[in-house]
Symmetry: D2
């Protein structure tokens, strides 16, 4: 059973946070309304990242399920009658995407994410998904303490309100040193280079 | 999507460590030879644990896969031509068993196991599986530091050699305060009581 | 050498975050200006907490020192010529206060704080110190994921600007379920009761 | 307050585990008897490591003290009437040694050790101290999972009995890939080279 992480060259990865989401919690109707226009932009960012050779890691709530069965969560969110289906459909994982189930807000808390990032050799994280002021912000804090370079394109995440979203983006820029370049302007080809080459060119 | 952990009453849980195993690494033929006679005893312990109301948690290597897809690892180990199939078949997870994928030796390192145990309210761990002197011992150490009560029935785990197995059992008894009662003599009904009642009766 | 944590009865603790501070980093003059009027209120909260039997834990940056020597950091911040002395003087630790050195923003990251809280048996944290939108907010996030009840009295912390402070307080209320009652109104006697009694009276 | 870790070039570090020890626990008289002849060898290894430019990190139990005050633990162990004084005296930390207090067995559990090692840029750990089959073994396991190269010179650690010591050394060799070269034969000059140079020469 060959290790699935050995081929990566990119020093960056795209983290898709809680995009496989059932939107079944307080205020999730507000969040879904804000998330719907963002979904196609996340899908487009994912498409460009994959084209550039940047691996994609789903970092997703286990929603109280504890069976390491990502497909079950996915199937639940895609039920035809579920309001979540419209958002989730365009963001289905592909075969070579990674998938980390997280039990709490931060993608790093009680998950193998840090070890997966070390295996992949990545030093830069691009964060997208929902919600900006919750799981994305918690994850950005933990990434900052682990010395990752952080990008949070503001057009690829959403909160319950625009104000919460904007404040969280500002906070991550100020307190987690996040780069908040919009997704169309992200230098994906450059971020996809191996870590060593980037260091050399920076020196 | 209801939380799957809310109904448990038992203060103990059975951890099945690396029993979904492909035995494709150095010396794994020796390990498999030692594991084969142990398999039915683990299966019987699991049957009795379930009957007593003790939840079963698979704590299993991800074998270099990073897609949170336990079923893929299981299917690989159960391939008819695989030497592992004979061992793994009798230990397939059932629908209400929990499943934690671990990336390294210890079940606690970069996994949600500690949080799942807290959700379940368990304070006692029964360790079974393979290998005694590797993943079981690493997990026992981490459990000791987290103040869990530990049982390691010596007839329900195996190493490459009998000597390695025996030394690891002795070490866990001495250094992780493990109870090494053989599985047929484990007081499962008593261990299945809620933590509070056990404390009261101890007082 | 007797364990120093065995006598506590209180289910709450007061965490004083980065109050032993040298204010030698970018914008720290702005932060000191905001912190100076807050210092006496933190000192008063500490006095009342101690009187109620609530233990006090300093959770403090090691400022790049790695010798587990809290007194060295303290002495540096209290140099008579240092601008920090005026703030720090009123907040010197007392003999029976605890002291946890943290290497990064969150008090929980790579520190023994979680274990100390477990030893003390506390379930409620009162956060005070600096800066509201940095180390206090990072710590509040980590406390939320560990299921602690959180109080952040808004008059006992400070940021570089009033706006940053206010937004961080709002964020912790919304996203970490923090109670933001001002310090004079905190029910310290009630919070100082053992966890069990609080549960009983809540039932 | 300058960061104290910036000058290191060595890719290896010497971890002195629990050598500041009060020997006040069950069977600690047996442990002290085994440790006394080992003490001078640890002191000599430390002398040679320092001469080679290898940083020394004390990784020491806090013995139930929670005030980040390493000097208090040291003073207690050095009381003239204490049996521990004879062992500890020769192993006093020097001014530029690092000091990490640990609350449990492993040097990595709830401590800043991993972050300090990252700051220092070290990839190789030399473990010495007491007890071989307890805190050294727990620490070796955690180091293995974090991918450190591990040396455990058998003449620089001790357990309650020679048999426990020998079995633990064998276990770390087999299960944590530890190199068990005796201390006089350790290639300290080579281990003291920067990580990059070692990698280049290995390629």
């Amino acid at each position: 059973m060959p290790d699935s992480t050995t081929q990566n060259q990119s020093s960056a990865t795209l983290l898709l946070i809680d995009v496989i989401n059932h939107f079944e919690y307080p205020d999730s109707d507000k969040l879904l309304a804000q998330a719907l226009p963002v979904g196609p932009r996340i899908a487009e960012l994912r498409r460009r990242a994959r084209a550039a050779g940047i691996p994609v890691i789903y970092v997703n709530d286990n929603f109280g399920q504890w069976r390491s069965d990502a497909s079950k969560v996915l199937a639940y969110c895609l039920r035809p009658e579920a309001p979540s289906a419209r958002f989730v459909e365009q963001l289905r994982p592909q075969d070579d995407d990674y998938f980390v189930l997280k039990p709490m807000h931060s993608g790093f808390y009680q998950t193998p994410l840090e070890l997966l990032l070390k295996h992949l050799g990545v030093t830069t994280l691009i964060l997208a998904g929902i919600a900006t002021n919750s799981c994305i912000q918690y994850t950005a804090h933990d990434a900052k303490m682990r010395n990752f370079r952080i990008f949070v394109p503001p057009d690829c995440s959403a909160s319950r309100t625009r104000e919460e979203h904007d404040q969280a983006i500002q906070h991550m820029q100020a307190m987690a040193s996040a780069d908040i370049t919009p997704s169309p302007d992200l230098p994906l080809q450059q971020l996809a280079q191996p870590a060593k080459q980037q260091n050399s060119s920076a020196a």
